[in-house]
Amino acid sequence: MGENEEKRTLTYLERLKQKAITQENYGGEIKEEEAKMEVHDCPECGAGRAFRQGLTACAYCGFKFMDIRLTDGVHIKKENNS
């Protein structure tokens, strides 16, 4: 192995390494976040979101939180439709 050959391999690797490290990921960096709790109040009457025949409408004033029909997922089930 000639000296030049070795140099070429190294510089190629160095360049590749630099590029791999500095390349920006699609969607940006991922931020590590702590577990948290959130709540969605009813914008009409200010009541907390309670379960009454489902979760898609406010249990107190009937305001529709969402227009779509829910299908079965991991935690959200069809029964959550108001």
Binding site: L16, A20, I21, E32, E34, M37, G48, A50, H75
Partner: protein
């Protein structure tokens, strides 16, 4: 007819060209292999370093680097294939066309020589392909395995520490998270019945992503036993898959139903595949 009484065919020039072509082909592959060896040997510690320094959750910098190196190896494979087609097979086809009939005694000797030449070149190329497979797996395994078990246990402890620390956003009542969740879920406040949305930490969300790898790490010994049997024993593979999926479901019980479908699919794929030798 059939050239049975033809004079013996002599073509020392062709023999010389065959010898030179074969030498060039062997030299060419030797050079590619040396280059591949140098590159991979220098790359292994670098890959490990990038992997260890990579703070991205999905280790994407490591992924980029690995892809770049594998691309280089693919380029070499491509070059070898091209040269084989253009300089070996094309040459053989041209030379064959100019020889006397294969069934004549005059032609047979040279046809045999060309056949031997072709087989030697193919065998040498086969060795080259085996080296590609060897170096590719060397690069793939260069970073070593992450200790996913430790990461998982860390998340379990972290969850135990925070599970009682949440209060209802609506009424301030104390809430306890019933089990560890890996994706956002509704938790009902026991006092005001408000549905709070619990969003797990990024680390806990990653458990869902790593669950399969962790299950595979836990059952790697079973896969090894299966892989070492010759001929491959179908039942051992089924045993391995079953315990791998059991472990997987233990880690993320919420996904058990989906995982079972995938289990069925893998079993089916395996019984349909032909690689059981």
């Amino acid at each position: 007819m059939f050239g049975l009484f033809d004079k013996k065919y002599h073509n020392p020039e062709l023999l010389e060209t065959i010898r030179q072509t074969q030498d060039r082909w062997f030299d060419f592959l030797d050079k590619l292999e040396t280059r591949m060896h140098e590159m991979c040997m220098a790359a292994v510690p670098e890959i490990r370093e990038v992997f260890n320094q990579d703070t991205d959750l999905y280790k994407r910098a490591h992924g980029h680097m690995l892809m770049g190196l594998r691309g280089q190896i693919d380029q070499m494979r491509h070059k070898a294939n091209k040269t084989k087609e253009e300089n070996i097979f094309y040459f053989i086809d041209c030379a064959t066309a100019e020889l006397p009939d294969f069934i004549s005694s005059a032609g047979r000797e040279y046809h045999n020589k060309l056949h031997t030449f072709r087989m030697d070149c193919i065998n040498r190329h086969y060795i080259f392909e085996e080296k590609i497979a060897h170096y590719t797996s060397l690069l793939n395994n260069a970073a070593g395995e992450q200790d996913l078990e430790a990461i998982y246990q860390e998340q379990l402890t972290a969850f135990e520490n925070i599970r009682d620390k949440f209060v209802c956003k609506q009424c301030g009542g104390n809430m306890t998270i019933p089990q560890i969740f890996f994706i956002a879920t509704y938790i009902t406040c026991p006092f005001c019945q408000t549905q709070n949305t619990f969003i797990p930490s990024t680390g806990a969300q990653m458990v869902l992503h790593q669950a399969r790898c962790l299950a595979e790490q836990r059952t790697a010994h079973l896969l090894k036993i299966y892989e070492e049997t010759k001929p491959k024993n179908h039942h051992l593979y089924q045993q391995y898959l079953r315990s791998m999926f059991d472990e997987w479901n233990k880690i993320v019980p919420d996904m058990a139903e989906e995982n079972e479908k995938f289990h069925q699919r893998l079993l089916q794929d395996h019984s349909n595949s032909i690689n059981h030798y």
